[in-house]
Symmetry: C2
């Protein structure tokens, strides 16, 4: 997502050329036959850190909710075909003012998808989004909430994804990272710039903002996470850079600040 | 703040003309001798619901932090002179990346101001702001955090202010409102619009967004709050309306949605 203007092929080539061993895939970039993309990723020597995104469960009617769940089956299939173990769930907003009812729809949706995920050997990572997205993207807004959901679902294929941009502000974040131990399925970094110009597109490169990246990474690793770390930056200026330049900056910033 | 383009005098006149019995005052609008403003408010038949804002405690150096505390003494004086019982605290961002250190500075600052507030019979209302303001306005971001701070400070002149815009997304908000019982010093309403165009200026009139206003108000009242309800809307379009029109809309929306 940090190089969103690239096609999948271009992103694969850019990662390979810049010594980046993992690539995070997004469903809207799967512009070709998925097994073919997988072959290209593998022949470039890369692995897929995760597929983003499943989720989006709440909807106004029963039949719409069923459609959303079926869409998640397809996302699980794509994750399996890509060869990644993790499908990231961005769980969606409420269809109306009843946010707690929508939260229950998320629980029901994940419960409905989990058995198929297990069958396909894909794990479902509940990603809490920043509370500023509670109205339009996710009724799951804190790591504590995601942990409670995972505990209640209580199946090995459901875990959490921790993105510093979404959780850094939380007074309970360190306690909740500890509580996530054993079910952390992904760790995403970027930075919170001051001022932040846009709710969606205002993320910064690591080091350009106020997030305590090292402290968060240390806590995530202390909780046992040893998987890849994704750099996920929604920012038009960074997207507009030549990928060689943005990826070089990304690597330097990663080493210096994460 | 909902009629921010009016002077203090114009706002007093507009409230009186529209049958609005309370006015929420902001320090930057105190453009004249405070006792004179108080006399005008009283002769218009109004009361002052609160003065906004004290706080802004975290700073890089000891001497700056002292200055911030002294500024809060002046804010307490102004609240007392205006005849309101409540000074709202917007507690400020961290001066660096150490958000937890800044949170301790807020605790130290409130502890330093509380004895003087007691002497002047002014209460200090800790207002948690939405987590999207954690980087530039407030390291206090949840009602749970504000409750814990008030419990630790444990003095009768420190309580919390609940603004629906800042807390509506929180999975724990109803439990935390119950926990606030006995120390709720203010209740603010507006609405969260979808999409939200601006972090600061994107608030909507009640009814134009997704916040469960009635449910939140019922819980706040069930927790024993009987004070005034402030409508606080940062929105350029509403500011640009003639006050007669915005206040009429506000009254209708308040009756219909709150």
């Amino acid at each position: 997502m940090t190089t969103n203007l690239l096609s999948m092929d271009e992103a694969i080539a850019a990662c390979a050329a810049n010594g980046i061993p993992w690539i995070g895939a997004w469903r809207h970039k799967l512009d070709q036959d998925v097994p073919a993309i997988r072959r290209r990723i593998e022949s470039a020597g890369l692995k897929v850190s995760s597929l983003c995104r499943g989720g989006m469960f709440p909807a106004a009617t029963e039949s719409e909710r069923k459609q959303r769940i079926e869409e998640n089956f397809r996302a699980v299939d794509e994750a399996a075909e890509l060869g990644t173990e993790v499908l990231v769930l961005v769980n969606g907003p409420a269809p109306d003012r009843h946010i707690d009812a929508a939260r229950q729809m998320v629980m029901d949706g994940i419960a409905a998808v989990a058995p198929y995920a297990r069958q396909r050997r894909v794990k479902l990572g509940i990603e809490p989004l920043h509370p500023m997205f509670a109205g339009d993207r996710s009724v799951v807004v804190t790591l504590g909430q995601a942990n409670t959901m995972a505990e209640k679902l209580n199946v090995p294929e459901v875990g959490v994804v921790i993105d510093v941009y979404h959780v850094w502000w939380d007074p309970n974040v360190y306690a909740e990272i500890q509580r996530s131990a054993g079910r952390i399925l992904g760790f995403h970094v970027s930075d919170w710039m001051v001022p932040t110009s846009s709710l969606l597109m205002g993320r910064g490169m690591m080091g350009t903002g106020v997030i305590e990246l090292r402290r968060l990474r240390a806590e995530v690793e202390a909780a046992g996470y040893t998987g890849p770390i994704e750099v996920e930056i929604f920012n038009q200026e960074i997207w507009n850079m030549p990928a060689r330049r943005s990826l070089e900056w990304m690597k330097d910033a990663y080493l210096e600040y994460c």
